[in-house]
């Protein structure tokens, strides 16, 4: 296999890593108004992702850097083309990130409410806009002969892309709520389970529509297979949730997101950014990638580094496996220093 084809799938894998991991952070953030009845509830919710949001978010930095190194033309076209959308994502991520750290620095409820709002908005906007962005990549955007995006910001808000955005928003929301049910105890855990069932129904309907649309409008046989697997995993997750198997529900949500990303990448292949106006202007795996030498250097690095990364990140989640409860949080608040 050519190295640039390998890197196309490695980029897919990195975005899977990002959406599976930061995806539930977004869902947890968005669920604050639904599940956080009082301040202690909200602290419990935030503490489920407290230790890991930063490592999860780092996946997008790594995915972005890998995209830059492996497919400079793709990185340049997508990031300059989606300028305002990415600006909103960046601002949202900034506000969300500092809010986790700053919310508990002062006791006043007005102070906390301000940061809670930023967590909710800062989680919802990226969850929506990443879907809009990737759906547009799959659908194709107008590009000139130098591969520069020549549409406007509003061209990106077409029905297919908006449905893509709604799909990621709902997938991440459900994913996050399931994560809360997996990571908390008592009343909040039960409320999260109930909310996950309700959200699951809407998510199944919207995601199925989007996956069907993708498969029939832009897909191939591989797209159809991945879309079907995503749908099966999503429904299985819903059923696991009904039975109260949180671990299975969460694992299957992660599988759903992974298969959904694969659906999009399979639709793209062998393009990376198809031009909607003139196929000659499309960016492909061939004309967007770096030299074999650079890809070779990167492949060796990934080969040696990624297993180590999986080990220590997996170990981190294992160390932090205990559920968060109102009792543990309020006890810690009593003696907290940070």
């Amino acid at each position: 296999m050519e190295l640039n084809i390998l890197w196309f799938w490695i980029i897919a894998a990195m975005f899977i890593g990002y959406f599976v991991l930061d995806g539930f952070d977004f869902g947890v953030g968005m669920s604050l108004p639904f599940l956080g009845k009082d301040d202690l509830d909200r602290r419990v919710i935030i503490n489920t992702i407290g230790p890991v949001w930063d490592l999860n978010e780092t996946w997008v930095i790594v995915a972005g850097a890998a995209l830059f190194a492996a497919f400079p033309e793709w990185y340049a076209t997508m990031f300059s083309g989606f300028y305002l959308a990415l600006l909103v994502i960046l601002l949202a991520l900034i506000l969300r990130g500092v809010s986790f750290e700053y919310r508990h620095q002062r006791p006043e409820s007005a102070w906390k409410a301000r940061f809670d709002l930023m967590i909710v908005v800062g989680s919802a906007l990226p969850a929506l806009l990443w879907g809009v962005a990737f759906a547009n990549v799959v659908r194709g955007v107008p590009l000139d002969a130098g591969y520069n995006y020549i549409g406007t910001f509003f061209d990106l808000l077409n029905p297919y892309a908006l449905l893509g955005g709604l799909t990621t928003l709902l997938l991440f929301f459900t994913h996050g709520v399931v994560f809360i049910s997996l990571k908390t105890e008592g009343d909040i855990r039960q409320r999260a389970q109930k909310l996950a069932v309700k959200a699951g129904i809407v998510t199944i309907l919207v995601a199925a529509t989007f996956l069907l649309w993708t498969t029939f409008a832009f897909g191939s046989l591989a797209t159809g297979v991945f879309a079907a697997l995503a749908a099966v995993a999503l429904i299985a997750s819903f059923l696991a949730n009904l039975r109260g198997s949180e671990g299975w529900a969460f694992t299957l949500m992660a599988a759903t997101i992974a298969f959904a990303v694969l659906t999009l990448f399979a639709s793209l292949f062998p393009d990376v950014m198809p031009a909607s106006n003139d196929a000659a202007n499309s960016l492909t795996i061939e004309n967007a990638s770096s030299t074999p030498y650079t890809l070779q250097v990167m492949s060796w690095t990934a080969l040696f580094a990624m297993p180590v990364i999986f080990l220590y990140q997996g170990w981190t989640y294992w160390v932090l496996r205990k559920r968060v409860s109102r009792t543990t949080v309020s006890a810690a608040v009593e003696t907290a220093v940070h």
């Binding site: 497919f71 033309e73 305002l84 650079t294 250097v297 932090l320 810690a332």
Partner: protein
């Protein structure tokens, strides 16, 4: 077109603003991770309460600052593609690799273990928990290496060939790229300057409390560590600053000439270093200056009778090489940034040296002005760091990649001035607001001082550290 909506100008302002801002938090993150790791190591080895108190106290300041470094860093990773897409297309094959290495090896390490450090006090054995702060430190230092190696390519492009057909630079040797002489000198120069910034913070905070005669049991050892760290890192930073100026003179003679605002090529005593210059308003002739003969020759060539090329001479050479154009950076910025970096750097090293003398053998100066000067250590080190970075980046102008790609040729051709104006305003407002919040939170934490810790266990003599919760 309206000149205020010039995408090049706006993109340059935005990159400058976001980068200088990001680089206010990064040095403190790198330096404080190391400092906190030292305090925690001291606690694990001695079981003394004061070291645990200092770990928690500076750890809290570290975390308030860390969050800002993280979130402003994502902007850096994205805006090469957003605002500088032609640059990204041109250098991606070369420049992308160190960025990807940085993410894979350094950022993951830092981001994972910081989480374990914050929340792992009651979940990990002591030794393992100590390892997490050291791994965070290692990640932050490794990230500095890769980003400086990437930056070194812009200052001194090596290890590439030009592919005319694709219109881009292509990597020929990763080993050569990562051992760029500029990177080898700027890495230790920058890292030890980061340690100066964190030492500056420790000195300022300790002096503030000691002036008020409070928290003496923790703040005296903190002051001592801060001052020693300042002196040692200051010496190493100066040493590698010298190596860097040699490498820089070889790679970018124009930057050295611009640092000195030296228009004519000079040799020996004439290649003097001016500490201060007053010029005519048009900047063409000099009214008054204080000069040290031979110093510039020494800095640039390590000999007293070396020849240092002047701006006019270099400009003429570059016109022959690269065609008509202005190849000089903005001289007043490089000239003054270079001086403020060196001046403030030396000033606060001296503060630490004098401080060590005044506090020797447990002495405590009674004069309040001594403490008041020491409190300025942190702002001095932060400004010195910042203007140093501004110097090296502004001195690269008008090039994005020296000799290969001009800044004006790297900007995204399809992003409009209006879009960039929107983003510039948004970043300015949000960054400005966050700066106020962060500054107030750090001040609040500093004023509170170190909190008491639990009594030691009567049997083992060990103290249970406090846990963290969001």
């Amino acid at each position: 077109m309206n000149e205020w909506l010039d995408p090049l100008l706006l993109s340059r302002w935005q990159f400058g603003l976001t980068t200088v801002y990001h680089f206010l938090f990064v040095p403190l993150t790198i330096g404080l991770a190391f400092t906190v790791a030292l305090f925690q190591t001291a606690w694990v080895r001695t079981d003394k309460a004061k070291y645990l108190q200092l770990t928690h106290f500076f750890g809290k300041i570290f975390l308030i600052n860390f969050a800002m470094g993280v979130v402003t860093g994502i902007v850096q990773e994205f805006q090469f593609g957003m605002n500088w897409s032609d640059y990204s297309r041109f250098v991606g094959d070369v420049f992308g690799a160190p960025l990807a290495f940085e993410g894979i090896t350094a950022f993951f390490l830092e981001a994972t273990f910081i989480g374990l450090w914050i929340f792992g006090w009651d979940k990990l054995p002591r030794g393992l928990h100590l390892a997490t702060i050291w791994l965070t430190t290692a990640g932050s230092i490794a990230s500095a290496y890769f980003i400086l190696a990437a930056n070194a390519f812009m200052q001194n492009p090596i290890a590439f060939r030009i592919n005319e057909e694709r219109g881009r630079a292509e990597l020929t040797s990763i080993g050569e790229l990562l051992t760029n002489p500029i990177a080898l000198a700027s890495f230790p120069h920058t890292i030890f300057a980061c340690f100066m910034v964190s030492s500056g913070l420790v000195i300022s905070v300790a002096a503030w409390h000691l002036l008020r005669k409070q928290h003496e049991e923790t703040m005296r050892p903190a002051l001592k560590l801060g001052m020693w760290m300042m002196v040692v890192s200051g010496a190493i930073t100066t040493f590698f600053g010298d190596s860097l100026s040699l490498a820089m003179t070889a790679a970018q003679p124009m930057k050295m000439a611009a640092a000195e605002a030296m228009y004519e090529t000079s040799t020996g005593a004439e290649a003097s270093f001016s500490i201060f210059t007053l010029g005519t308003p048009d900047g063409v002739s000099e009214l008054f200056s204080i000069r040290i003969p031979y110093l510039l020759s020494f800095l640039s060539t390590h000999t007293l009778n070396g020849t240092v090329e002047g701006i006019n001479n270099l400009q003429a050479q570059y016109v022959t090489l690269y065609g008509p154009g202005d190849y000089t950076p903005t001289i007043w910025i490089t000239y003054w940034a270079f001086r403020w970096m060196i001046g403030l750097g030396i000033a606060h090293i001296l503060v630490a040296v004098v401080g060590l003398w005044l506090t020797r053998g447990g002495r405590s100066p009674q004069a309040t002005w001594v403490w008041k000067i020491a409190i300025w250590s942190f702002p001095f080190s932060l400004v010195a760091m910042s203007v140093g970075w501004i110097f090296t980046e502004m001195g690269r102008q008008p090039w994005l990649v020296f000799g290969l790609l001009r800044t004006q040729d790297g900007v995204s051709p399809n992003v409009s001035g209006v879009e960039i104006l929107i983003s510039l305003i948004a970043f300015t407002l949000i960054y400005g607001a966050l700066a106020v919040v962060e500054f107030k939170l750090i001040l609040q934490a500093v004023r509170k001082g170190p909190a008491p810790v639990a009594e030691p266990d009567p049997v083992s003599g060990k103290i249970t550290p406090q846990v963290t919760v969001y």
